[in-house]
């Protein structure tokens, strides 16, 4: 069952077989009819053969009887001895016909009945006159004449008595013994089981098988006589026979050959039974094949239907069992693929949905955090602006009062200095805020930056502070690379770090050390810049917070170090902008160690950092890593 086409083809083959079978059946009927005709013809031929053979025997017996009469066997006085001798001779002559000759002496006692005749023949006193015997015969057989053979039914094995004449004298009677007729029929080779009946012209049975003595065959004879071919199915007793009536030579008798119908037509019945059996087998095979085909066609369709219903019910991924390679199997395969795809798509959809929800949650959390940070930032900015504003309010109010009093002139001048300082503080704060905001916007195109030159400028600018704090600034910076970026940003970053170190260095002969190096690890090349001081350092719990805006260490507040609280936030933002990191630890000098690490290769940029779109290239080494 490779394909539906094959199935359909096979279906047609089956139909064809049924058709051929039907046609064969009709053909068989014809064969059967011919066979039947042949059987009938054979039967008729056998009947004819049997009749001929019997007629010959009868004629032969009659001739012998006449000859015996002519020889004078029956002449002379009638006595039993001679009769018996004649009888024996005759019996010897023919194995199946017994001839009995009786002298026709009128003086002999009259035979009144067949029984009487038998007495004459076989009793001890068979004396009868010719006249009385003839009279008896005439009474019994009124049509008897010289050449006539009259019939005289006899009981027992005797069938007929015939008067035989020789000249003017009736010499005797010829009697056929019924039973021996059978061998005569057998000589005509009738089929086994056939029975032969001999009847005279009036339908009187004169010869029959032992068990059929006295049977009524008149109806059968009438039926047969009406048929042109003298053949018909007749009923004898309760059995059907194929019977043929045939004349017995020139004798006025007829032979009925009867073969049991079932036996005669056994061949036909076998043929029909066999044909019917074959037809039945064909039919059963066709039905079975049809059933199998129907099942093979409908079962997958049903399975597909059920599976479709399940898919409709939400059971995505439902699979149909696939067997074979036919169109239905292809359909089932396509269905399975569709169902699996639906299942897959649904899972993907659910996953996407989950991912989306998670992303939304994360974004929302990030936004909330950003929002909180922003609120904190705004609060801090407001606070850090409010404080100098309050101061200015108070100071200017007080200044106004002082100016009215000449005695307070010195005090007024001192107040003015305070006013100036507050304004400076606010300017620094606003400037730092603008700087912080500018880093976030990242609006300037990157240019080549010589970090050595930037550091030189920063150190020069911070020289007054350094001197004011009495701090020694030690530079161990032999390897400062050139990079791509925003020069002012690098300037601000370095300035904030070094400025912080100077502010926080020890009051007593403070020390600030700057170290720069280019190092390589598996991620690529990095510029490392360390700023160390010998100040109080940053306590571990503050090391992350100091990089947040407006967070100042307690030490810074205690020591009243000037600052906006935004410097380190600016540093971190600038460093991250280039994919770098900045952190603070303990310095070998005793204070804080701020370490900046910035990638010199594009591949070392941390993709998680937001501001890493600007490339940094160490052009001093002639190495460019971003393909430009």
């Amino acid at each position: 069952m490779k394909s539906l086409r094959t199935k359909i083809a096979l279906w047609f083959v089956i139909l064809l077989l049924v058709t051929v079978g039907s046609l064969s059946w009709f053909s068989l009927r014809e064969t059967e009819s011919a066979l039947r005709d042949e059987i009938v013809e054979t039967h008729q031929a056998r009947a004819a053969g049997a009749a001929d053979a019997l007629a010959d025997l009868v004629a032969d017996a009659k001739a012998k009887t006449r000859a015996a009469a002519d020889d004078g066997v029956f002449a002379g006085p009638h006595n039993e001895t001679r009769m018996r001798a004649a009888l024996d001779e005759t019996v010897r002559e023919g194995p199946f016909i017994t001839a009995l000759f009786v002298p026709t002496d009128p003086e002999e006692p009259v035979v009144e009945s067949p029984e009487g005749l038998l007495k004459i023949l076989f009793s001890d006193r068979p004396q009868a006159s010719k006249d009385s015997f003839v009279a008896s015969l005439r009474m019994l057989a009124p049509d008897l004449d010289d050449t006539h053979i009259a019939r005289w039914p006899l009981p027992g094995s005797w069938s007929t008595i015939t008067a035989v004449e020789s000249g003017d004298t009736t010499h005797g009677l010829l009697a056929f013994q019924g039973a021996p007729v059978r061998p005569a029929i057998e000589a005509g080779r009738p089929p086994s089981g056939a029975q032969a009946f001999v009847a005279d012209g009036e339908g009187i049975l004169i010869g029959a098988p032992d068990d059929r003595e006295g049977a009524d065959v008149s109806e059968a004879l009438t039926v047969l006589a009406s048929r042109e071919d003298r053949t018909a199915i007749v009923v004898l007793g309760s059995t059907q026979y194929l019977a043929t009536l045939f004349p017995l030579g020139s004798e006025p008798w007829r032979l009925m050959l009867a073969t049991p119908r079932d036996e005669a037509f056994a061949a036909v019945d076998t043929l029909l039974t066999t044909a019917a059996g074959v037809a039945a087998v064909f039919l059963i095979l066709a039905i079975a094949a049809t059933g199998v085909l129907a099942h093979q066609i409908t079962a997958p369709v049903r399975r597909l239907h059920d599976a479709s219903a399940r898919v409709t019910g939400g059971e995505y991924g439902t699979q149909v069992r696939v067997s074979g390679k036919d169109e239905l199997a292809e359909l089932a395969g396509a269905f399975n693929a569709m169902s699996a795809k639906m299942h897959e798509d649904r899972i993907r959809l659910l996953r996407n949905q989950e991912t989306l929800e998670r992303t939304v949650e994360e974004r929302t959390a990030a936004l909330l955090e950003k929002n909180a940070e922003l609120e904190m930032f705004v609060y801090a900015v407001s606070h850090d602006l409010k404080t100098p504003l309050v101061s200015l309010d108070w100071l200017t109010e007080d200044l106004a009062a002082s100016l009215k009093d000449p005695a307070r002139r010195a005090e007024a001048e001192e107040t003015l200095v305070r006013v100036r300082r507050n304004i400076d503080g606010m300017q620094s704060l606003v400037s730092d805020l603008l700087e912080l905001s500018r880093i976030g916007r990242g609006e300037d195109a990157p240019v080549r930056v010589d970090l050595a030159a930037v550091l030189d400028a920063v150190v020069a600018e911070l020289e007054p502070q350094r001197r004011a704090h009495g701090v020694e600034l030690r530079r161990e910076t032999t390897t400062l690379p050139e990079v791509q970026g925003d020069p002012s940003l690098f300037h601000r970053m370095l300035s904030n770090l070094v400025g912080n170190a100077i502010k926080y260095a020890s009051d007593d002969e403070g020390l600030v050390v700057l170290r720069s190096d280019v190092e390589t690890d598996i991620d690529g090349r990095w510029w490392r810049f360390d700023v160390a001081d010998d100040g109080p350092g940053v306590p571990p719990d503050m090391r992350e917070q100091v990089f947040h805006p407006f967070v100042r260490s307690p030490e810074a507040r205690a020591r009243r170090v000037e600052g906006t609280g935004i410097g380190l936030a600016i540093v971190r933002k600038a460093v991250r902008r280039y994919g770098g990191t900045v952190d603070v630890t303990d310095a070998p000098e005793g204070g804080a160690l701020f370490r900046v690490r910035m990638p010199l290769d594009r591949k070392t940029r941390d993709p998680n950092l937001l501001d890493h779109d600007t490339s940094m290239v160490d052009t001093r080494d002639g190495v460019t890593n971003d393909g430009r």
Binding site: T387, V390, S391, W394, L395, D398, A558, R560
Partner: protein, 135 residues
């Protein structure tokens, strides 16, 4: 009582030097006629130390290095020798929590840093009221 020869020791603690100066000036120039000695402190620890050394009253900023004004207030209320010293909390905070905490801890008053004339009047009135009570 105004002519009482006694000199009142008043502690003013604020880490913001301008604010400290202006509060001190307001107290020193109060027209009450009291003789007042202002003790200055620029962080919490110094303020608490000065408090323990003995002052008649104190003006404490909240946000200060070392200790906040509120923590000094609370600590002093638990200290028998300091429990009765009137303490005034001075802050730029308008946070209700700060104000409530100050009252709960037993501050004499809470003065928010605002426009100078109003702020100065408030400082002076609280100062005079307190000194009058103490006298």
């Amino acid at each position: 009582m105004a002519d009482d020869a006694r000199t009142w020791r008043v502690l003013v603690a604020d880490d913001h030097l301008d604010h400290l100066e202006m509060i001190c000036r307001a107290i020193e120039r109060s027209p009450s006629g009291h003789r007042i000695k202002v003790v200055r402190a620029t962080d919490g620890n110094a303020a608490y130390a000065a408090l323990k050394e003995g002052v008649d009253m104190a003006f404490l900023d909240i946000k200060m290095p070392g200790q906040s004004g509120l923590s000094i207030l609370r600590a002093s209320r638990a200290e028998p020798s300091l429990a009765e010293v009137p303490i005034v909390i001075v802050s730029s905070s308008s946070d209700p929590w700060d104000i409530e905490a100050s009252t709960n801890y037993g501050a004499k008053a809470y003065i928010e840093k605002g426009r100078y004339d109003r702020f100065r009047d408030r400082i002076v009135s609280v100062l005079e009221e307190t000194l009058a009570m103490l006298a």
